[in-house]
Each structure stands twice: as C-alpha cells, then as structure tokens.
C-alpha cells in the first residue's frame, strides 16, 4: 500500500522522535556509528517518508516509486530506522546494526538484501551522480517519479559533487531534488574552518539550480518549502536544510565530536529519556 502523506507537523515530529529513539538504541547496541548526523536528519527523514515520498513499503521495488539516494552512507541508521518505522522490515531488526550477517551494514549495502535501500554508498561524493543517472532514466522513459538525494555539507568538498551539479542543470533535471544536511560540522570541526563552503546558496545558484533554504527541524516550514519545489522549472532543486548535529539530545547538540560516535548503554538511556520527555 502506498504510504499516505501526513501533513500534520506534530505527527511528523512524533515520528521523528521515534526514529531518534531507534537510532540511539541501535547505535548503543552496535557500539559504533555516527550518532550526530543521524539525529539531525531524523526530522527530514520523517518528512520525506511520511509526507513527501511516493513509496510502498509492502512493495519496495514498485517501479513508480520516488527514489531516495543516501549519498552520505555513514548516516545509514537514520535511513534504517525510518524504513523500519515505515514498515519495510521489523523494528527489532534495527538491533542487528553493524553486526556480522546483518542486513544493516555500517554503510548501506544492497547485496545484503535490506528492503528499501536504493544504493550501496559510503564513499562520499558519489550519490548525486547516481541520482543524476536515475533522474535521466526517468526523463527518458517519461516517468513521473522523482529522485531525492541526501547530501552532507562536508561532502560538498568532493569535486565530483560539482561535476554532478553541472550535469543536472545542463540536462534540465527538474525531477531531481538534492537535500543538504547543513549542520556546519564535519569530523575535524566546523566546515568553514576545514574547507569553506560559503557562500553555499550562491554556488548552487550559479550552477543553475533552484535553491531553497529551510530549518531542517521545523516540519511546518519544511512542508511549505518541499511543497514549493518547482518540478516543471527545467532546473533541478536543492534544499539547504539548516540542522543541528545531535538534534534532540541537548547535551550533544552542536558538538562535532559526536559525528562518529555511538552512545554507551547508560548514555543511551539518558538520551532516550530526554527525547521521550518532549
């Protein structure tokens, strides 16, 4: 059954919090992973899977589905948790994350058979190119499905992203939407100190993309922004979603040291308590 779009921001927020709890549980169980980015993307993922994407968890290979390409494979747990909460597979399986024989690889791997995974990815800077290929195929076949690509902001330092950006506008791929998780942080610290990305909006503008900015935690605002995507503009669209790494757990919010860390069992309990309180 195709997922019915939810347009109530408070329900989307509640879904995001369930996703966050699952992320924390699975990372604590795994003992490793990338908590910060996963938590900050939970709001965007709940919006996409419960409101924006045309998809059917009971038929993951449905040909007319929208494609979500996760270019930043390291935040796989936010995708896994969202897929589980959407009904692609049992939520309990999330606790097998990163374990031997699991379908939930550290970075998404299609060959392990987890339903809902569009692309095996993890080496940064590749997802947008693949998304361009998907969007082109849809255009060639006159299909209406769309392609959503999740990019990290640090990832934009990879030159191949800009090769893909050039190609997407050259080929007028208005069925392609890139979403940038603009949390401003990467492993070594602030993106602007490691390698400056600003003026980011101007960069995408100059590559002939439609550019939107929004608060990546405000579902009300995001619904409006995503609702305004001009799918017939002859140009691809990028949404720069401003987020806070570790969102939802006040003690780690905005702390780049949580980019690539998992919580201990004790921390996990404490983090989950805080999310449940809200």
């Amino acid at each position: 059954m195709v997922v019915k779009a939810i347009s109530d921001p408070s329900l989307l927020k509640r879904a995001a919090d369930s996703i966050r709890v699952s992320i924390i549980q699975s990372l604590a169980e795994a003992g490793s992973g990338h908590l910060g980015g996963c938590l900050d993307l939970a709001d965007i993922f709940s919006l996409l899977y419960f409101s924006i994407l045309n998809h059917d968890p009971s038929n993951p290979q449905w040909e007319e589905r929208d494609r979500l390409v996760l270019s930043i494979g390291h935040v796989a747990p936010v995708l896994y948790s969202t897929l589980a909460h959407s009904g692609y597979f049992p939520v309990e399986e999330l606790l097998t994350l990163r374990k031997l024989g699991s379908r939930l690889q550290g970075h998404p791997g299609r060959e392990h058979g987890l339903p809902g995974i569009e692309l095996s990815a993890g080496s940064l800077g590749q997802g947008l190119s693949v998304s361009v290929g998907l969007a082109m195929a849809a255009k060639m076949d006159k299909k209406v499905w769309k392609v959503f690509c999740i990019l990290g902001d640090g990832e934009l330092q990879e030159g191949s992203v800009w090769e893909a950006a050039m190609a997407a506008s050259h080929h007028k791929l208005d069925n392609l939407v890139a979403i940038i998780d603009r949390n401003g942080l990467q492993i070594d610290g602030c993106t602007e100190n490691v390698m400056q990305l600003e003026p980011l909006q101007k960069k995408w503008n100059s590559f002939n993309w439609n550019v939107f900015e929004c608060d990546g935690h405000d579902h009300h605002q995001m619904l409006k922004t995503f609702g305004a995507i001009p799918y017939n503009s002859g140009r691809p669209t990028v949404i720069i979603a401003h987020t806070i790494m570790g969102k939802g757990v006040s003690s780690i919010e905005g702390d780049y040291r949580w980019h690539g860390k998992a919580p201990s069992g004790e921390q996990a309990m404490e983090f989950i308590k805080e999310i449940a309180k809200e």
Partner: protein, 321 residues
C-alpha cells in the same frame, strides 16, 4: 601454420563502436555516455544514430561513472567509454562503490590501451587498467585481440553479461585476423594454434604478435601453442593449467604492466595448480613515451621478435634440464 590471415588493419576501437551501435539497434535500453572524446573512443556511431540515447556529460569521468550507475539502477544498459587511463583510474572509486559494489550492469570502455597509442605519450597510454579492474569484485574484464573480436565481445558484454564489465581496446589500426564465425565464449580462452613445446598466452594486440612469433619458432622446429586470453576475468583456469601441464613453459604477452596484468593473473593460476617457468612480456615498471606505435612496441619489447627471443632462451634452459 597459416590459420590466421590479416584481412587488413583496423583499430579495435572501431570494433567497439560498431558493437555498441549494433547493440543499440537491437535493444532500446542501451544508452551511451560521452566524456567529450566520443569520436576517438568509437562512440560517435551510436551518438549519431541515437542522439536521444546519447548523454553528453563533458570531461568529468567520476560523474560519468556515477551517472552510469544511476541509469543502470533504473533499468538502462549504460555504456561509458573514455581513455582507459581515465576510465580505470580517474573514476576508480566510483567504479568500485557505485558500480561494482552495487553490482550494476555498466559497460566501461577503456580506449587507448597500451603504448601503441603512439605519439600522445605516457599520460594517454593505458598500462595499468587491467591490474586495477581485475581486482574489483563482480567485475568482468575483457581484452579482445582484434577489431572483429572487439565487435563480438562488446555486443556480448552488453547483451549477455550481467554486472559490471570493463572492455579494453586500442587506437592504432592493427591486424584484423579473427572472423565472426569463430566460436567464442566470455570466460573461455581460445587456443588459436596448437603446440607442445611451450605456450604463449597473449591478450589484446599481442595475440597477433604471438601468432607471428609462433610461426617464426615453427620454422626452426619449436612448436608453440598460442592462447588468446580475451577474458582476463573470470580467467579460464582450465586452459592455463592444461598448457602448463602439457607444454611445461609459458610466455605471457600483454601491452600492459606485467605487475598485476595478464602475466600476474596467469601466474596466480599456474603457481597454485602446476608451477612451471613463466616468462612475462609486457611493460616493466615503466611509463610509455611518444613515438610511432611500431617503434614503441619494438622499444618496449612488445613484438613477435621479443616473444621469439624469450621463447628461445626459455627453450634452451628447458633442453638443458
């Protein structure tokens, strides 16, 4: 022994271009990606015939490779061809992750293989591509011996194979000596000429050189078996083991670095199942340079003469024992 006659020189890249065109005629899912040099890698025929299925992406090999992966994910059969140096190395990580790890049916054409590229010199002579491509899981690596075989293998790679394929071909018109009726199977080596004294296992342009060397040797009473290894991976273990057992001496010949290439691939099999002496003809930890193709092949010992010399010295040692 004159089983093979040169019907005229023809560049293997033209065989590739014709194979791609034929596949395009037969299957509307076939699409081609161009990275600016479509003419010199043989994609122009397809581009002219099917402009709506030709995608220009400019000088951006990493993106070309990723786009090919996306097209394949959506059910297209993308063919991306550029110079082998760039196809295999510039976008190696995209090939590894987006194409091979996803096990997508993407056909990558590696043009300008070997020093026979000629005057362009070292930067444009692919000499490491076999080594890089053959270690990637899921990848099939093809290295046809002439234009006719390149045509057949290109067509077969597109239509019959699954998963990623790397196919290597050259720029310079070279002897076209196989014919379309000759049976072939991807993954099976071809014994072009039988012999019991030693075996020359060759690939690409070097197969013709190997046949010439065998003729030279035969005139002095040494009978060389000639094996055309057009599929580097999956490798035909059976033919190689049989050659080692029956002839006891192997010469490998490739227009590629001997490290990691055909020679290494053969040695991996021989050393495991039937260790015999192997002499490897190929580039020896060296870049190419400018010159005309024939001069370069002679300079770097990639010729029938060099194969014959290697055979003679090996054979002398064999006799002594």
């Amino acid at each position: 022994m004159v089983e093979f006659v040169n019907r005229g020189n023809k560049a293997t890249k033209n065989g590739f271009g014709e194979g791609l065109l034929a596949a395009g005629e037969r299957n509307p899912s076939v699409v081609a990606i161009g990275a600016d040099i479509t003419f010199s890698v043989g994609v122009n025929l397809f581009a002219e015939r099917f402009p709506e299925r030709f995608i220009t992406l400019g000088i951006a090999e990493q993106n070309c490779t990723g786009v090919a992966a996306g097209l394949a994910l959506a059910g297209k059969i993308p063919v991306f061809s550029t110079y082998g140096v760039f196809a295999s190395l510039r976008s190696a990580d995209q090939i590894r992750v987006s194409v091979c790890y996803n096990n997508l049916h993407v056909i990558i054409g590696g043009a300008h293989a070997g020093v026979s590229v000629g005057p362009d010199g070292a930067t444009h002579q692919a000499l490491e591509d076999i080594a890089v491509m053959r270690v990637l899981p899921n990848m099939t690596v093809l290295s046809p011996c002439d234009a006719t075989q390149t045509y057949l293998l290109t067509l077969a790679a597109i239509e019959k194979l699954q998963g990623p394929v790397y196919i290597r071909f050259g720029r310079e018109p070279m002897p076209d000596f196989t014919n379309e009726k000759m049976p072939f199977e991807i993954g099976k080596a071809q014994v072009l000429h039988d012999g019991s004294d030693l075996t020359i296992i060759a690939t690409g342009h070097m197969t013709w050189e190997a046949l010439q060397a065998a003729a030279l040797l035969e005139s002095i009473g040494i009978y060389a078996r000639v094996v055309n290894l057009h599929t580097i991976k999956p490798i035909d273990e059976e033919v190689i083991i049989k050659a080692a057992k029956e002839t006891g001496l192997i010469i490998t010949a490739e227009e590629h670095q001997i490290a990691g290439g055909l020679g290494s691939a053969v040695a991996e099999i021989v050393s495991k199942y039937c260790p015999v002496r192997i002499e490897m003809i190929g580039m020896r930890n060296h870049f190419g340079e400018s010159g005309n193709p024939r001069e370069l092949m002679d300079k770097f010992g990639l010729s029938s003469k060099a194969i014959k010399q290697a055979a003679l010295s090996l054979f002398k040692n064999k006799e002594k024992k």
